[in-house]
Symmetry: C2
Subunit: 348 residues, 2 copies
DNA sequence: TTTTAGCACTCAGCAGGTTAGAGTGCTAAC
DNA sequence: GTTAGCACTCTAACCTGCTGAGTGCTAAAA
């Protein structure tokens, strides 16, 4: 859909001004602020055309124009110029990821805080999960006469644990033995790599502990396929309340009720087949019906080409797309690198 | 401060009606709804007295009266009748805790959800932490040539972990040895029990691994003294938005900004020396200046007399104190029992 | 002395009406 | 194709008066 050059300029002006002011944009404003070299009347004509084509709309008869979802989409796809982060912003992000990683959970949390702080919207970060991570270590720990804890450590630095019931007849030494054998057989394997023959072998060796083995293998299976619920870090929800579109309490309520449902959020983050790079979803392009007048900018972070998790920003459709896209892009890259360093163990 | 019997009845009527309707209560309303056997005029006189003594106040000249913080305090201390939970509520709570505990984190989260669901206010639950828990197991897991993960399991079912740098010279076998020795020497000890002599002994045996030992002992120390940040589970924030006092967006904003600061919340939950049983803090009795017109009802849960953590409800001062107190009380008791069962391993 | 009825007074909130200003669409001239 | 001018529309802000809830005071009743 080719568009007249001047029309593009008008649309761009409307989008920019509306993003900046949250007020419907009039023809006079455009003529004054954006110096297109034509009079308001001409701009009015262009605007009438743009409205007919669905790129902008009018809240009411005597108001200015506001970009439609289609308008934002056109802006993001064709008009938007790359936004360069300020040196301070880049430094802030770099220094954030330049620390020694002690605990992945903490890094994720910090990432979320920083993301919301820089964008002034709500940030969502998914913990490392998807993808085939490798099994590092399993340990059975006796907790009391009838229970033990199974701890599984994965190579991406995540931990999984579960309490299981055990027969009283099992001794601490037995558990040590089980742990040792499981480790010896399975270390370094991904889910796909665990061959049936291998499992049979283990069951054979540990026949008398079948019951425990069942429970341990179950957790292991969950850890490897990452069924275990992934955590989502949410930050800067109250940033959204500073946006004029959320001065209405009803809207705040629906927003909050959505953000409290982790599963729903999880669906939002993983729902779309995420291509490489940054994905922008505008308004109705977000599948969820309850989320209205919002856009999401998401991207995946990865290690050695393996997708680990994703982060994203939720804001009003009137979002500073260019800036947010740059930030999300830069942060995923830095997070990926930091995790890469952590997993490879290359230096600080 | 002894109070006239009829004054008490009037105060009670005002508190009850205001809690129910959120509207200032007038003399006529009291006379009609609460049948004290006297006319509105008499009640007006009593109300004038109550206002003079500071138990109630008037939003503006021609409005009814509203309980003051002092009024709520008097209500909670002297007037409130015990609220019995409905059979359904009790069943709901019991069935919640009657499951087999697989993971403490999950139980905490569910507890928070249920608490907010039953009270319709915001629930806060602190993970098990304070108190001297015992060390169960430590494990060093090699992650890559230069890093290892230290995993510590505590007897209250919590896990702590941290990535540490290691010299390349250390082999996986070395780490296994270190783990084994640490476990043998330290299992079952609390922080106070770890004697200096014992530590020296360990350092002597593992002299050549001093560096790793330092890092491992650091995590251990943190785990035992529970310095590591405790998690707070928050639930039902959006419940608060249904309260008429939060129809003002500004108030919602300050509330949310507070709830996003975990440290602040942590201070709120642990700040007061929590006595046994349920604590009620009304309005200004909450230390935080930013929290206005809110009350908190908190209680600790414990295992075998050892305080483990606490849970609480944050709501407007116009809170259904009697009901909330009963719920918090009942839930802490049930949670304590569930954890007790888990740690003792006595059946499901 | 306590309670009550009656009455004048106060004030928030709402409905209705008016105005100001922003912005449009159309028309006719450039 | 562009622009100035103008009539028109609609919202938001402001004023105004009214209503109703609720009070405090006074004087009479119990």
């Amino acid at each position: 859909m080719k568009m007249d050059d001047r029309k593009q300029k008008v649309l761009l002006a409307i989008v920019h001004d509306y993003i900046a002011t949250a007020e419907p944009v009039g023809s006079r404003t455009i003529a004054k602020k954006f110096r297109l070299g034509v009079s308001p009347a001409t701009i009015r004509n262009e605007m009438a055309d743009l409205e007919e084509q669905g790129y902008i709309e009018q809240p009411h008869t005597s108001a200015g124009r506001v970009p439609s979802e289609q308008g934002y989409r056109y802006y993001v796809d064709y008009l938007m110029k790359k936004h360069d982060l300020s040196a301070e912003e880049e430094d802030l992000i770099r220094s954030e990821f330049d620390i020694k990683v002690k605990d992945i959970g903490q890094v994720i949390q910090k990432t979320g805080q920083l993301l919301s702080q820089l964008t002034h919207y709500t940030a969502m970060v998914l913990t490392p999960s998807i993808g085939s991570s490798r099994f590092k270590h399993i340990q059975l720990v006796s907790m009391n006469p009838t229970q033990a804890m199974v701890v599984v450590v994965m190579d991406n630095g995540t931990l999984h644990h579960r309490l299981i019931d055990i027969p009283e007849s099992i001794s601490a030494d037995d558990m040590e033995t089980i742990s040792r054998i499981l480790n010896a057989k399975l270390r370094g394997l991904t889910n796909e790599n665990i061959k049936l023959t291998l499992v049979k072998e283990i069951y054979f060796e540990l026949a008398r502990h079948k019951h425990i083995l069942d429970l341990a293998m179950e957790l292991l299976e969950d850890s490897l396929t990452m069924k275990s619920e992934d955590k989502i870090y949410l930050g800067g929800v109250f940033n959204m309340l500073n946006q004029p579109e959320f001065h209405n309490v009803e809207k705040v309520k629906t927003l909050l009720s959505i953000l409290e449902q982790e599963k729903l959020l999880y669906g939002l983050m993983t729902g779309e087949e995420q291509e490489v790079g940054v994905t922008v979803r505008i308004g109705g392009e977000i599948k969820n019906k309850e989320i209205k007048e919002c856009s999401m900018v998401t991207a995946a972070y990865s290690v050695a080409g393996r997708k680990m998790g994703s982060m994203g920003v939720l804001g009003p459709t009137r979002m500073e797309y260019a800036k947010v896209i740059s930030i999300v892009d830069f942060m995923t890259k830095n997070l990926s690198q930091a995790l890469e360093r952590m997993m490879k163990g290359t230096g600080k």
